[in-house]
């Protein structure tokens, strides 16, 4: 059996490639399954607001399904939010990201309008702010709150 494998070197190579693909697919499926178990929150971004549904979720692994409804490009940042005014960056048009760089559970880079992305985050109980920090977007109203229950 072993010698046949060695003899059919090319078939062996092809077979192992197929095997590798299968393993990769399997692992993909596994992660989707694991995220499929987590609650999914629909996040819709558009000029210039964010809709979160549902706005309440239990603590733990949460999957944010983020759709950009456009027409502009938008990013998404998730930060814990205890209320009050958030500090602005020196240009006066965006929030100062350096302050919550280490505390944010997750973020997504700017995406084209019409795109849908997933963001998996582990959320502790508390209030969170979801917003787009592109130039003037937060100031124009692109932010929403998510409440995470115990």
């Amino acid at each position: 059996m072993r010698s046949r494998w060695i003899q059919g070197g090319r078939r062996c190579l092809f077979g192992s490639a197929v095997l590798a693909c299968a393993i990769a697919l399997g692992s993909c499926g596994g992660s989707s399954d694991s995220s499929g178990g987590a609650p999914v929150i629909q996040v819709t971004e558009r000029d210039f607001r964010i809709d979160v549904s549902p706005a309440h979720v239990a603590a733990g692994d949460v999957t944010l399904q983020v759709r950009n409804a456009g027409p502009d490009r938008h990013e998404l940042l998730v930060i814990p939010y205890a209320g009050g005014r958030l500090p602005l960056s020196p240009d006066g048009l965006t929030l100062d990201e350096t302050l919550f760089k280490n505390s944010e559970p997750g973020s997504l880079e700017p995406a084209q309008p019409g795109s849908t992305r997933r963001l998996s985050v582990r959320l502790a109980p508390g209030h969170y702010l979801l917003f787009c920090n592109m130039e003037g977007h937060f100031m124009a109203g692109m932010s929403a709150q998510l409440v995470v229950g115990p």
Binding site: D47, R49, G70, P71, E135, G136
Partner: protein, 698 residues
């Protein structure tokens, strides 16, 4: 395509359509590609202009804020123009038209309406934000906040001063413009990519179609070439092409004839096949204008010479061939037949000449002369002789030689020592030194030679041989041999005929039994003697009791007795004397120069000799003579009657004696003579033998 190929006729002018199709497909692909490039470049140029205008919106939004703030601070800036510029620009981007020139460096440019759903949505958003920006600008100048209800772009400016609001709106406008610009740039990239892909695809498809058509063309051409090749190479005609460097093509049939592969015939190889006499001719033809056809001799695989009838087609000026095309057929059989016919004709002409010449020869010597002259005609350089046997057929003697070249001098003695005579057919010797050569050829003074020996015969009997020699190792050849055979045959026929004729003449003049001249010859001789006036004696002799010999011992013994007497009488006579058998047992003698007395002595001697000649094999017999001479009578008849009477007297006197007739008998006896019979003898016989015995004279 394949089924069309199968139907294609070998001499059709197909292939042209395929070439045209190749060009069309190539041109089509190129045209589509170029058109696409032109359209793409045009669109890309328009997009670049749009991109410029969109990018300018950011600067204009910043400038508008600056101008509003300057005006708010009491400056002289007029933001309305910038606002109009912003509005007009975004409108032109959406609907197409002439983009206004910005103060500073830009010129007004015509652009098409920007396409793409998402880009247009962004432009619409930009248009709304610009409206909101200008509204906010107006509110700042008026010293109040902009009303949230006046905002059209979906923004909620909840907090901040009017100036902050203005700045936020300018930021939003600027952001949208940037997004739009990057989207346009991306779109441009994408369309460039897709154009490249499309052109690549067109190129590949065009190439594939061209290649497919080209391969069809190649297949068509190949199958047609194969067809032509098969037609040419399987033809039985022997075809070759002579170019500058010798042979450039030789057909399969020619290779088969030569028994060599084509590679050996190419170049100068073919000249080895051609007979060396024809090589020069062929070279001359290559130099100048070729004849329409010629006879070419080539050697085949076993070295045999074959005649080819070659037809020349001059294609030296044809750029596809560049040579002389020689198409030939093997006509050896025809040529051989023609040569044979020609030779046959010549032989026939020679033969009839010989026959005519020999017909005019009425004796052997003239026939020999004819043969000698014919030898010179056949081969003046070749020693030649005709060896013939004499009448005894025991010895061969040269009777005619080639006067121009002499006689070869064959030492053969008798006809049956000659191999050609024994075999009865011509014999050829290539060399006198060969093992199987005739030994009579060796050791001749002229040295080693070749020889041809043709037997000469008449009615199947060998008469001799016609013998010719030539240089050592050279054969006479079929033509020479044929001529010699004709000469030998005709000479044999003529010489045989002449000899037979002479023999017949001799037989007519002699007596068959004794070999003595007959009565008619005797009469002629005697008449000649009488007319010459010369004296002569005439005698008649009659054997005694011959009837008894015949009856007792048989006719055979009688014949022997007659022959014996003839022999004895001849031996006793002189050369000039004539003795003849008159008939039966009666003999007559004419002896010129003798008178009757002298003749009596001669006759007595004969009687004595006869008596002495008896050996015992025969019964003893005697002879009775009567003799007279030319003085007694004037004519043969008179003399005969005198001699007859004398014989009668001898018989009466007792036989075995000679009686001289001195005078003419009485007229009674003369009138009774019939000129043929011998009356006196008849009477004597009647007396001697009774008539019942059946004895008859003659």
């Amino acid at each position: 395509v394949i089924s069309r190929l199968r139907r294609a006729r070998p001499f059709d002018r197909a292939g042209r359509g395929i070439v045209v199709a190749i060009f069309i497909s190539f041109g089509l692909a190129s045209a589509v590609s170029v058109t696409l490039s032109i359209v793409a470049i045009d669109r890309s140029r328009s997009r670049a202009t749009a991109l410029e205008v969109v990018a300018r919106q950011r600067t204009l939004a910043e400038r508008y804020v600056g101008e509003v703030l300057a005006a708010h601070d009491g400056g002289t800036a007029d933001p309305t123009q910038t606002a109009a510029l912003l509005n007009e620009s975004v409108r032109v981007l959406l609907d197409g038209g002439v983009a206004p020139a910005a103060p500073g460096n830009d010129d007004s440019t015509r652009i098409a309406a920007v396409s793409g759903t998402s880009i247009r949505r962004q432009l619409v958003e930009q248009q709304r934000l610009i409206a909101d920006l200008t509204a906010a600008g107006g509110a700042v100048l008026a010293g109040r906040s902009v009303a949230p209800s006046a905002l059209t772009g979906g923004e909620r400016l909840t907090a901040g001063s009017p100036i902050t609001q203005l700045r936020v709106l300018a930021g939003l406008t600027s952001g949208v413009a940037e997004d739009t610009a990057s989207a346009i740039a991306e779109e441009s990239n994408r369309s460039s990519d897709s154009l490249i892909t499309l052109e690549l695809a067109i190129g590949v498809v065009g190439l594939a179609v061209t290649l497919a058509l080209a391969s069809v063309l190649v297949i068509t051409t190949r199958s047609r070439m194969a067809h032509y090749r098969t037609l040419v190479t399987s033809s039985s005609d022997l075809v070759f092409v002579l170019g500058d460097g010798g042979c450039t093509y030789a057909s399969r049939s020619l290779c088969k004839l030569a028994g060599r592969p084509q590679s050996e015939l190419l170049g100068q190889g073919i000249t080895e096949l051609v007979h060396h006499h024809d090589r020069e001719k062929l070279a001359e033809i290559l130099e100048g204008d070729p004849p329409q056809s010629m006879l070419l001799r080539v050697r085949n695989s076993v070295g045999e010479l074959r005649y080819l009838e070659a037809i020349f087609t001059d294609l030296r000026s044809d750029r596809h061939v560049r040579g002389l095309v020689v198409s030939s057929r093997d006509v050896t059989e025809r040529v051989r037949l023609e040569e044979e016919l020609l030779m046959q004709n010549q032989r026939d002409a020679f033969g009839s000449q010989i026959v005519e010449a020999l017909e005019m020869a009425d004796d052997e010597q003239s026939a020999y002369d004819v043969v000698g002259r014919a030898m010179i005609e056949i081969a003046p350089e070749s020693p030649m002789e005709l060896l013939l046997s004499d009448s005894s057929r025991a010895h061969l003697e040269p009777v005619a030689t080639n006067a121009a070249a002499g006689a070869p001098g064959c030492p053969v003695q008798s006809p049956f020592s000659c191999i050609a005579v024994r075999r009865g057919q011509p014999v050829e010797f290539e060399s006198s030194e060969a093992l199987n050569a005739c030994p009579k050829l060796r050791g001749r003074a002229s040295g080693p030679c070749s020889a041809t020996c043709v037997p000469v015969s008449f009615m199947g009997r060998g008469l001799g041989v016609l013998h010719a020699t030539g240089p050592q190792g050279a054969q006479a050849g079929p033509e020479r041999l044929a001529q010699l055979t004709v000469l030998a045959t005709q000479a044999g026929a003529r010489i045989g005929t002449v000899r037979a004729f002479e023999k017949t003449q001799l037989q007519a003049a002699t007596d068959g039994l004794t070999g003595l001249v007959n009565r008619r010859t005797f009469e002629r001789e005697v008449r000649e003697l009488i007319s010459s006036g010369r004296r002569f004696a005439l005698a008649v002799g009659d054997l005694d009791h011959f009837k008894a010999v015949n009856d007792t011992y048989g006719h055979e013994a009688g014949d022997r007795a007659l022959r014996m007497f003839a022999q004895v009488a001849q031996d006793a006579l002189r050369d000039g004397d004539v003795i003849a058998r008159w008939g039966g047992e009666e003999f007559v003698f004419a002896m010129p120069g003798l008178n009757r007395r002298q003749a009596e002595n001669v006759l007595d001697r004969i009687r004595v000799c006869l008596a002495e000649a008896h050996t015992g094999a025969l019964p003893r017999f005697t002879v009775s003579f009567g003799v007279t001479d030319s003085e007694v009578g004037a004519t043969l008849e008179e003399l005969m009657s005198v001699a007859d009477a004398a014989v009668y007297q001898s018989k009466r006197a007792g036989r075995d004696r000679v009686t001289i007739g001195e005078a003419l008998p009485a007229p009674r006896a003369a009138s009774n003579g019939n000129g043929n019979g011998v009356p006196a003898l008849q009477r004597a016989a009647e007396e001697e033998d009774p008539p019942a015995s059946g004895f008859e004279i003659r």
